[in-house]
Point group: C2
Chain length 243, copies 2
């Protein structure tokens, strides 16, 4: 399993992903799922992936060489596409082609589906965020629900629905993202640290990198402890039911 | 969808279920999922159900007439079984038989699986709680993880993992259950009010009934509001990240 989260707020884009990958509970390892895939001066494209690792890796290889765009007849790569939307469509085609190429193995009863979050900016456009489904279709994140999730999405969703608004400042969004991951990691062992964090601020592009938040990161440990204590306190403050 | 929760704590058993049932998002109605199915002086058996309504209803009909116990050659009903464990096994056989009888319809691409929570007590035994899987096998709730869930389980699980202990007093357990349902109903429209609550206290059997907690129940509304405010306060109290 995996959990990846993208948040698009007024001031920019936040992406957070775990690094645990597993083929059964008896085969767990660490694998980077959030990475910057293109970062020349005119653009920044980042991808987080969930699902079949072989499909994702094959798709990334395919994209480096270029994926045929049936509308223009050209080979799209993350360095040539004119927008993040076009990057998401190209990744969708790559995911679908890679999955279909593997599907000859389907007698093995393995699921080769993979989903992606693609975030970033091309030129002067503000950051955008897309979810790429296994079938290759994409949806864009908008202000009404300013986040997209892939992988193990449910444990960490209530806090997002309660707390995240498009108007949240970026530090607040990062806090909410870390709480969402803390809840998920407590309930599903297949989502685990370290976490990878990427922040892209509107109009301040340059020098972005993926920051690794390890198990013993002081801020994250403090946040998890404070959150747990605050929840316990909040429960204690609610009067007992009369029924 | 549906969400049903059973909690087995030191002082007794708490069961809580929603009442929303749906066949697609365009066909939603209210249906009682938690009910007392046997309540003569010597026993109390309660069932909460999730999944296919037709399988569940067929199984309940079957159980009224008695389900063959292959080990004793007798027809088991909730009024004759010697323990809650035996009740769970009988319900498991009924669920499986009902599902298999419907499976001739499987070209319709409908899922006829159903799962149950069975709780209660027979004679002087303390309350017990079981989960009955669609295949008819059962697991019992124990003190290490003092709860079982069926249906839409994930949104409401983090608060259980954080807060519920076998030593929780019953009012505390009810509070935690209501918070778990509040989180679930915010994130999944297919789980909805009113809620049905059943409490069985150790050594104090008699007069139990399912209490309906409606949308405008004052205690539940107050709990949801306090919880929301406390979470917002807790987030505000956590210092901003430095990354």
């Amino acid at each position: 399993m995996t959990y990846c989260l993208g948040m698009l707020v007024e001031d920019g884009l936040v992406m957070l992903a775990d690094t645990r990958t597993n083929a059964g509970v008896d085969n767990i390892s660490t694998y980077r799922k959030l990475r910057i895939v293109a970062n020349p001066p005119d653009r920044l494209v980042a991808i987080a992936s969930a699902g079949s690792l072989s499909t994702t890796q094959a798709a990334m290889q395919r994209l480096e060489g270029g994926v045929l765009n049936p509308e223009t007849g050209e080979l799209d790569t993350f360095l040539t596409v004119p927008s993040i939307f076009a990057a998401a469509l190209a990744a969708g085609r790559a995911i679908r082609m890679s999955r279909d190429a593997l599907s000859g193995l389907q007698q093995e009863n393995v699921n080769f589906d993979a989903t992606l979050l693609i975030g970033g900016a091309v030129g002067d456009e503000p950051p955008r965020l897309f979810l790429v489904y296994a079938a290759g279709n994409v949806i864009e994140c908008g202000p009404d629900t300013p986040y997209l999730q892939i992988g193990e999405t449910k444990y960490g969703k209530p806090i997002l629905d309660r707390a995240l608004r498009h108007s949240c400042p970026i530090p607040e969004a990062i806090k909410i993202a870390l709480i969402s991951f803390d809840s998920t990691m407590r309930s599903n062992l297949a989502v685990g640290p370290p976490l990878d964090l990427l922040v892209i601020r509107n109009g301040q592009r340059g020098g972005e990198s993926v920051r690794r938040i390890t198990d013993d990161d002081e801020y994250f440990r403090d946040l998890a402890r404070r959150w747990s204590e605050a929840l316990a306190h909040a429960r204690a403050e609610i009067p007992d039911p009369t029924y």
